[in-house]
Symmetry: C2
Subunit: 299 residues, 2 copies
């Protein structure tokens, strides 16, 4: 089945202690869409300006990503610039130019409204609502978020949560949302806000699922070189939803393995700047690391 | 087979935002010995003063811990006092009174020198050396350490590492020792210093083994209430060595499962002050959580 992915489509200029890479393809929807494309047909919903390089449109197309929902507007593409510290965990934003993203309204092409799987990648909760308002009974809806929306759009986000099947956030965001230090108590509190499945991302420490079948402790693939972690969380959730949409059977049964596939897809994302590494791999590269993870966790 | 455990035997006064508990049984060797005692016969080597409560000697005995190597000296037992912050991750030492521990020399009773499994729990590396000097060809030697020894006794520690089969340390100590941010590169560097097995503890994020069979990603048991994490690392390594000493077959084959048992034993330690929770459980309580962990990690 296919996946509708809405989020930001951006140009990222990324600095690390080792290198500087201007105007890479970035944004939550780009990372998630490429990750999901290894498993399922993807429909991308976003906006770009007329400075958006043709090579990036070609990149989407090579991944067979449907671009009917990608709006092309006069003006500049959303441009984000950030710098990582040596440990690759702390980053600071150097620049945010919203460009055409500032007035983005994710209006869906008619054909998109029946898509069974929906990923509301990181974007303002009001826009995530707007997408759901247009959908016809999707089978599975999952949303990601970021600290910014907890700070400036919390009421919108709280109204979104009961509309979701799954909610994905990182450990510090879970703490910010619930004021809980303990991640398992935090997940219990988030369930009460609506979502049946709560997934907490912990970066290199993996992720945790809480759902009707209890917890699942999902490992991260061991990486001895992290080149650029930008988009890893988006790749995780994209790979996860892509795998889910392709799998037969119940969500409940498939979600654990879907998280493993998301985790592995995210590991490739970290090994190159922007999407450079992810766009060079094939499905069998992902399958190989999933097999490795099986071995790495067996006891 | 039996396990020799040398380390500190102390009285811990522990403060958390919720409670204050004076003069609990503590110390690296006490935690490790009680943890190991669920699996194998344990010989404890340490020192206590004449203020050491009889009830704690009785506690050791209830766990069938051999006390022939526990020295009783005139003076005060090592007393440590610390306070935890609300998140239970940060703690500060309020007081350290070494007492009889200051002049401790771990002289082994003759009968202890053939013990096949040796755990050099957290204690000065010079004392860890002294124990190994007295041992006759042990089958498996593992050592734990702490940041203090990296700061004040690094040359001793570096000379100890080639004498070990396994070395256990936490992620921040691994960073301090190797100057590496990446935990997998840090483990490679530590292998070069001697130990065949390197185990990095990551608290609530679990632990990682690096050995001849590659990595093993060991989960932590999910806890929604951490009462007092003091001694959790000692319980982990104690439970691990205790399990190893009881298991048939190769260390290489058993070490992963041994880490799981250590991890679960440590989870009980966190659920009460000092050893209060650990001393109330039975082996079947540990087995039950190990089964749960199998379910929690299956995909």
């Amino acid at each position: 089945m296919s996946v509708l992915i809405v989020g930001s489509t951006a140009l990222d200029s990324i600095k690390t202690p080792h290198a500087e890479n201007p105007r890479l393809l970035g944004g939550s929807a780009s990372h998630a869409a490429v990750a999901a494309s290894f498993f399922s047909p993807v429909k991308l919903v976003g906006v770009v300006g007329n400075d958006f390089p043709k090579k990036y449109l070609d990149l989407y197309r090579r991944h067979k990503i449907n671009l009917d929902g990608l709006q092309l507007r006069p003006g500049k593409t959303f441009h984000w610039s950030g710098e990582y510290e040596a440990n690759m965990n702390n980053r600071r934003t150097l620049l945010t130019e919203l460009g055409v993203f500032e007035t983005f309204t994710p209006t869906l092409p008619r054909a998109h409204r029946d898509t069974p799987f929906v990923l509301l990648a990181n974007i303002a909760p009001a826009l995530q609502h707007h997408v759901l308002d247009q959908m016809r009974r999707p089978k599975f809806v999952v949303a990601d978020t970021m600290d910014l929306w907890l700070n400036i759009a919390l009421p919108d986000l709280l109204k979104l949560l009961p509309r979701l099947d799954g909610f994905v956030l990182n450990d510090s965001e879970a703490h910010q949302l619930t004021k809980e230090d303990n991640v398992f108590i935090a997940m219990k509190k988030i369930h009460k806000l609506g979502p049946k499945y709560v997934i907490i991302k912990k970066g290199s420490h993996g992720s945790i699922l809480s759902g009707p079948r209890g917890y699942f402790i999902c490992p991260a693939y061991p990486l001895s070189a992290v080149v650029d972690p930008t988009g890893a969380g988006d790749s995780f959730v994209g790979g996860m939803v892509g795998y889910l949409a392709a799998a037969r059977g119940l969500i409940d049964t498939n979600l654990r393995r879907a998280m493993i596939y998301g985790s592995v897809t995210a590991s490739f994302c970290c090994e190159g700047f922007g999407l450079t590494r992810t766009t060079r791999i094939k499905r069998h590269d992902i399958d190989r690391r999933v097999k490795e993870l099986e071995q790495l966790t067996k006891f």
